[in-house]
């Protein structure tokens, strides 16, 4: 009894001691002693350790274990900090809300280079015109509210007026409303053109110049011809449906000029490309033979079946029922169709014509007979 009791007491003490040791170990694992406190930027999940790395210097050629211990300690401290953040629940998961990042990250992309000035900016700079500060909203008498200076539902939109007086010298039958809308469209188009021109200048792109195209009254025959050709091509369909004058001939040589290899190019390269072409052609050969064989087989079977059907139809006419051939017809197509499709698919997959492109004719004939 007593040894058992002693053992029990001992075991209880042992248990308690063990529990204490476990606690201490856990605490030891969580708490890390550092001479200098780490700097935390929790927004970026960053911890900066400014302690001098004496442990690492002492380690020698393979500081793996020391590095691992250091990493574990610092990560532990970071996690401790994270656990102190305010938490919230998002879809059954406990989430810590990170504060704003304090470290400023460097630029991802290089600094944009300065764009060239637009025509207006150059002019303004030359003349010394400074942009006047204007208010965004203007009081509109007509609607009795503050409206934008420009843009959607602006204060003074002359296209939106419901009553326009015919001006003194104008034709009374002219549509003043249409005139205003037209003028607006022209202004918008001009603005767009200038914007694109500025853009092209900024990217130093070649603009399609309308240099000699404006009618001056004294242009040479070639210039006029060129202007006429450009005008003809400047339609939405790029000149495809433009009518020609009765005796006008079609323009020749207006297509792109083909470019060929030089006569004495690299002979070795030429040889290599030709051999490569041959290799590709050779590799495709077997595939076509299979399709040829299957199509041939199918054609023969077709012929047999056509002969059989003819025989059956004669018998059926005599007997008065055409169930036999009908049933037979329905039963057969699926597999045939599959085979044919496979054959066709095989043919399609072989990209540029392999050996023996003449097979196409045979296949089509087979298809027609099927129907």
């Amino acid at each position: 009894m007593s040894p058992g009791g002693a053992m029990e007491g001992q075991s209880v003490e042992e248990l308690l001691a063990k529990a204490e040791r476990d606690e201490a170990e856990k605490l030891q694992r969580i708490t890390v002693h550092k001479e200098l406190e780490l700097e935390f930027d929790l927004g970026n999940l960053l911890a900066s350790d400014r302690n001098p790395p004496t442990g690492l210097r002492r380690a020698g050629p393979t500081p793996e274990a020391e590095l691992q211990a250091l990493a574990r300690d610092n990560t532990q401290l970071l996690i401790n900090q994270l656990w102190q953040l305010p938490t919230e629940r998002v879809e059954e998961a406990l989430v810590a809300r990170l504060p704003e990042p304090t470290t400023r990250l460097p630029r991802e992309k290089p600094v944009p280079r300065p764009r060239p000035l637009t025509r207006w900016q150059q002019f303004a700079r030359l003349k010394g015109i400074r942009p006047k500060k204007k208010t965004n909203l203007v009081w509109d008498e007509v609607s009795g509210q503050w409206r934008r200076r420009w843009g959607y539902q602006r204060a003074r939109d002359d296209t939106k007026e419901w009553l326009i007086e015919v001006p003194g010298g104008a034709d009374p039958l002219e549509d003043q409303f249409a005139k205003r809308i037209q003028a607006k469209k022209e202004r918008v188009a001009k603005n767009e053109l200038n914007r694109l021109r500025n853009l092209a200048r900024a990217h130093k792109m070649q603009l399609p110049s309308a240099a000699g195209m404006h009618p001056t009254g004294h242009q040479s025959k070639e210039e006029l011809g060129r202007a006429m050709q450009v005008a003809k091509v400047s339609t939405a369909s790029v000149g495809r449906f433009q009518e020609r004058l009765p005796k006008e001939k079609a323009p020749r040589g207006s297509g792109k000029k083909r470019k060929f290899q030089p006569l004495f190019g690299d002979f070795a390269a030429e040889k290599k490309s030709q051999l490569e072409l041959l290799r590709v052609m050779k590799s495709k050969k077997p595939q076509l033979d299979v399709t040829r064989a299957t199509n041939k087989q199918m054609r023969e079977e077709d012929q047999e079946e056509a002969a059989k059907r003819r025989k059956m139809s004669q018998k059926g006419k005599r007997k008065g029922g055409r169930q036999g051939p009908g049933g037979k017809r329905k039963g057969v197509p699926p597999s045939r169709g599959g085979k044919r499709k496979a054959g066709l698919g095989g043919k399609m997959n072989s990209g540029p014509l392999p050996y023996g492109g003449k097979r196409k004719g045979g296949q089509h004939q087979g298809g027609k007979r099927r129907k």
Binding site: F260, Q261, P262, L263, F264, G265, F267, E270, K271, S273, Q274, L275, L277, L278, M281, K282, P352, L353, Y355, G356, G357, K358
Partner: protein, 141 residues
């Protein structure tokens, strides 16, 4: 005069390969010199590099022919093989047909070869296979 484009080379090779199969690469890649195909007035010429360099000195409209003419491209860009290519195709031919002496003259004048005129034929020749016709004395016709 210019080299062939990819498309043209492919069409031509397909045609020639019907007769000589993969031996075509022996024509392209020769151990005894660099030979190449050049196109002049829609005709394809098989010419060695040396001759080509000499021919380049002649103006295009005055140049009639150079090397060996293998064939020509028709207006619809199909390749038609000419008899002048025989000397290069015969040694590499895969399928050969020998005709009897009696049928030889008839064939040379353009008639079809009848079964009775057929002397020998390489085995496993499929239907519609490209063949080279020989006389009984192994002269390619």
């Amino acid at each position: 005069m210019r080299p062939l484009t990819e498309e043209e080379t492919r069409v031509m090779f397909e045609k020639i390969a019907k007769y000589i199969g993969e031996n075509l690469q022996l024509l392209v890649d020769r151990p005894d010199g660099t030979y190449c195909f050049r196109l002049h007035n829609d005709r394809v010429y098989y010419v060695s590099e040396k001759i080509l360099k000499l021919a380049a000195n002649i103006s295009g409209d005055k140049l009639v022919s150079l090397g060996t003419c293998f064939g020509k491209f028709t207006k619809t860009h199909k390749f038609r093989l000419h008899i002048t290519a025989l000397d290069y195709l015969a040694p590499y031919a895969k399928y050969k047909v020998w005709i009897k002496p009696g049928a030889e003259q008839s064939f040379l004048y353009g008639n079809h070869v009848l079964k009775s005129g057929l002397g020998r034929i390489t085995e496993n020749t499929c239907q519609y296979q490209g063949v080279v016709v020989y006389s009984m004395a192994d002269v390619p016709l």
